[in-house]
């Protein structure tokens, strides 16, 4: 360490961590200084949250050291990290909703007096808030507060426990633009008062707006640590998404009739917030349209409205000219629409049921298996055997439950099942997420086969490499809007990365 560089507040040296044999972090070095806002940047699954969970004592690293203020630490519980002055504000708040702000801040705080009146709690809270220069009504109940205010309570709670290093995990994900601006001001002030703030994000604008230095993680490896000053969004986007690889899929330019047609589609997410804004999309028979974007920007809702699993607010969706918005899920499936759902365990299969039941989930009512009320048991078993063989699912028997399969085998089964159901359109949401290389290649081959067979494919993935590899055309989604649609041949990784990070095409091409 050179003499002029300031003393780091927290230092991680060669941290490695694996989950179930998959490396989440591979010998990552990370260093944060006092009085700085340090942005930790990367795509989903790059290891940002894992790294911070290790710093906060939630996970233990498989290898490597954590050094806090010059002292090596071995955190075995979050309490140890808090004692060492490291506090983390999680994406999902851990507040007690029916209690007041003052009560929440004092909950489980060693300095809370044993016997205390509401008055004292409120006074103490107000004093603390004015010290910190942040204010929330201490008598308000948590559920009465806006999300931004709740977040401030979380930050205050962590600071009250003496945190000198504050970790914010994707803090703007739940905030409105105005609330985010307020948060940036708070974060800057905390850093100015001498604290370290680690700011996890994948939004490039935020990195540039709030941080002093930044570290980019990609697939568990640190790509760079550098001062934010002088960095460009394009450079960060390229580091986040990686260098282009050699690809071997032939991209096509398909003209002709469109199979899937979305016009002005708007829809709400489960929390009742608009997740799709006026989306127009066209997918033609025999092409793959890839949706690039960081997950959580409306992709889930997009897949669900097409399959009639979610109601439209406005707009129209047509498959081969038939309006699917007014159809039942089954009627849409009967049009020849297959859907590899994003959440294969939660939605795509019944883990407690045997494979034979899972094999026919999307076609058990068809004539092949059912004449009116009856279900031909032998036919189901035979079909399941054929499917298991075609999908190369490793199992001893079709009577084994789906829960006994490995994740890769589950996904191969679902992917093949849906590919079979898809005569006209296949909606594939994150079809290779969590798979090892071989399983991912097989699933990709299944999807490409469908395209070559004349099926329209809508591929949703947060892995930009995958979208670039597979797609004939690419649409970028950000906050429920289509930022642009490009032929694969014209797609530029850096440019796409900028659009995925929320830049408009005009801003991005500058």
């Amino acid at each position: 360490m050179t003499g002029d560089s300031p003393q780091p507040s927290v230092e991680a040296r060669a941290i490695s961590k694996a989950f179930g044999g998959v490396a989440a972090l591979d010998a990552v070095d990370f260093e944060v200084r006092w009085s700085e806002v340090h942005a930790l940047v990367g795509e989903n699954g790059a290891g940002k949250t894992t790294l911070c969970n290790i710093l906060a004592g939630i996970y233990r690293a498989d290898a490597g050291q954590v050094i806090v203020d010059g002292v090596e630490r071995d955190f075995r519980a979050p309490a140890h990290a808090i004692d060492a002055g490291i506090g983390m504000v999680h994406q999902h708040f851990r507040l007690v909703e029916p209690m007041t702000v003052a009560e929440n801040i004092h909950l489980g705080w060693p300095e809370t007096p044993g016997v205390v009146s509401q008055r004292t709690l409120i006074d103490r809270t107000e004093r603390f808030m004015s010290e910190m220069g942040m204010h929330v009504d201490p008598t308000a109940k948590i559920w009465q507060l806006s999300v931004g205010e709740q977040q401030r309570v979380e930050i205050l709670r962590v600071l009250a426990r003496g945190a000198r290093v504050l970790i914010l995990d994707e803090p703007t994900a739940v905030l409105t633009a105005k609330e985010a601006e307020e948060l940036f001001a708070v974060v800057r002030e905390l850093a100015a008062s001498g604290l370290s703030v680690i700011f996890i994000t994948h939004k490039l604008r935020e990195v540039l707006a709030v941080s002093d230095r930044l570290t980019v993680l990609r697939q568990g490896i640190r790509e760079i640590t550098r001062p934010t000053e002088g960095a460009t969004a394009g450079e960060i986007a390229r580091l986040m998404t990686g260098e282009e690889r050699l690809l071997s899929v032939e991209h096509r330019v398909v003209t002709g009739e469109s199979t899937l047609e979305l016009r002005g589609v708007s829809a709400l997410n489960d929390r009742g917030i608009t997740a799709l804004h006026n989306v127009d999309l066209t997918v033609r028979a025999g092409e793959i349209l890839g949706i690039a974007g960081v997950s959580g920007n409306g992709q889930t809702e997009l897949a669900e409205v097409i399959c009639s699993l979610r109601d439209l607010q406005s707009g129209s969706i047509a498959v081969d000219g038939a309006d699917v918005a007014s159809m039942s899920v089954r009627a849409v499936t009967d049009l020849g629409v297959g859907h590899i759902p994003e959440d294969r365990i939660g939605m795509g299969m019944v883990l407690s049921a045997p494979l034979k039941n899972n094999a026919v989930l999307h076609n058990y009512w068809t004539e092949a298996f059912s004449q009116g009320l009856t279900l031909d048991r032998q036919e189901v078993i035979d079909f399941a055997k054929r499917l298991v063989e075609a999908a190369r699912v490793q199992t001893r028997s079709v009577f084994a439950t789906a829960g006994q399969l490995s994740g890769g085998n589950q996904q191969r089964l679902v992917a093949r099942r849906e590919a079979l159901a898809a005569d006209r359109l296949l909606v594939a949401a994150h079809p290779t997420r969590g798979l090892d290389v071989n399983a991912a290649q097989e699933v990709r081959a299944t999807v490409l086969d469908k395209r070559d067979g004349g099926c329209a494919v809508l591929l949703i993935s947060d892995d930009l490499d995958e979208v670039l590899l597979m797609s004939d055309r690419i649409a970028v989604m950000y906050e429920g809007r289509i930022m642009g649609v490009f032929d694969a041949a014209d797609a530029d990784r850096e440019y796409l990365g900028l659009l995925m990070g929320g830049h408009t095409p005009a801003e991005a091409s500058r």
């Binding site: 949250t49 996970y59 997950s295 795509g348 407690s352 009512w365 048991r377």
Partner: protein, 385 residues
């Protein structure tokens, strides 16, 4: 999770242990653990009896002899088995869909009450009266679960509470009927409804068992077929396994929940009618249901919602209750008998759990905030934005 497994898992949640489902259930091992559960419970009961100075072997002999030693014994078991089997089949059906119908006692009572109402007011040939009674009992059982079913299917209101509480309402209605509006004012029996003049046909050669015995057998066979060979059975099992996957497959989940819950109530209600039209019953009073709903629930939970398992388990529990009653006449106190029931059922339940689960110590790294954090981490990495 089987119903029993969820209960056991909940009990263990406060301990450093948890249950892991066995990925592969070896039939012989499973049978062994079930038998050893029952046998070790019997041994515990035997030791308790020996400690209180009684001859356990003599008592066991008396119990077996009272059940199997005479036609009367066998018929006695059959009579007790019918209502238990009916409630148990209803509950087992609901458990296939992971719906916990705790209200089969109430549905059973309402079935009996509706049948009494028809039986004492309707004039006509006996067979016709009985058919109308059966229809009324079935409909009343279904009606008694209608509100919980609507609330569960369309408002996601937990059915355990609603069905359970309606048991008490049904019981009070029966008391009211037997002391009030349908009270028997002619006979000396004062706390009972009027008697229904008709009974079901006895099985040829039987002293008291009627053709009602065939009803649970037919229902079990029908349910077995439905779940083996129809799309409805497939859909119910899919809803029970994963309601979101059922929605993904285009199954009308709410409507199915509705219909299945009505059927579970209907089966219990028909059970009430069958109980009423047995010789000697024919009227309702506060003691009409000897906790048949509870016994049925225990049977269904132990059988893991398998319909043939319900049939076997229902007969066994009926035999145990029958032996218990007879042993009281041989000088065993009712407390000892109840305690023995409890020990035996617990033993069977533990054997059943051991057949399907193994006990594992919670991984030290995954406890407390750690496991929460794992979940939160996956959620945040998944949701991303």
């Amino acid at each position: 999770m089987t119903p029993l497994g969820s209960i056991a898992g909940a009990v263990l949640s406060a301990t450093p242990w948890r249950l892991d489902r066995r990925l592969e259930v070896d039939t012989r091992r499973a049978a062994l653990s079930r038998i050893s559960g029952a046998v070790s419970a019997m041994v515990v009961v035997g030791i308790l009896l020996l400690l209180t100075g009684r001859n356990a072997f003599w008592i066991l002999w008396q119990a077996l002899d009272s059940i199997l030693g005479s036609q009367r014994g066998i018929e006695g078991v059959a009579l007790r088995a019918i209502p238990i089997l009916m409630t148990a089949l209803g509950v087992a059906l609901s458990l296939r869909m992971k719906v916990w119908n705790i209200g089969s006692d109430g549905q059973f009572l309402m079935g009996g009450l509706a049948a009494v109402g028809v039986g004492i007011h309707m004039n006509g040939p006996g067979w016709l009266v009985l058919i109308v009674m059966a229809v009324a009992g079935t409909l009343a059982g279904a009606a008694w679960i209608l509100v919980p079913a609507l609330a569960r299917a369309y408002l996601d209101v937990n059915e355990i509470i609603t069905t359970l509480l309606l048991n008490f309402v049904a019981f009070q209605l029966v008391v009211w009927a037997s002391l009030g509006f349908w009270r028997d004012r002619e006979s000396a029996v004062i706390r009972s409804t009027e008697r229904v003049p008709v009974i079901l046909e006895k099985i040829p050669g039987a002293e008291s068992v009627t053709i009602a015995l065939f009803v649970p057998v037919i229902i079990a066979a029908a349910l077995w077929w439905v779940f083996r060979s129809t799309t409805i059975g497939y859909e119910v099992d899919t809803i029970g396994g994963n309601p979101r996957a059922a929605g993904f497959a285009g199954i009308a989940v709410r409507r199915r929940i509705m219909v299945v819950m009505l059927f579970t109530g209907a089966i219990a209600g028909l059970g009430g009618m069958l109980q009423l039209s047995a010789p000697g019953a024919q009227a309702m009073n506060a003691g009409f249901s000897a906790q048949f709903g509870l016994s049925g629930f225990i049977v269904a939970a132990l059988a893991g919602a398998s319909f043939w398992g319900v049939m076997g388990g229902g007969v066994c529990i009926a035999a145990m209750f029958y032996a218990g009653v007879l042993l009281q006449t041989k000088g065993l106190s009712v407390y000892i008998i109840f305690a023995s029931y409890g020990v035996i059922l617990t033993g069977i339940a533990l054997g059943e759990i051991a057949a399907r689960y193994r006990l594992a110590r919670r991984d030290t790294e995954e406890t407390g905030t750690g496991s929460d954090a794992v979940a939160a981490d996956h959620a945040s990495e998944g949701a991303g934005s």
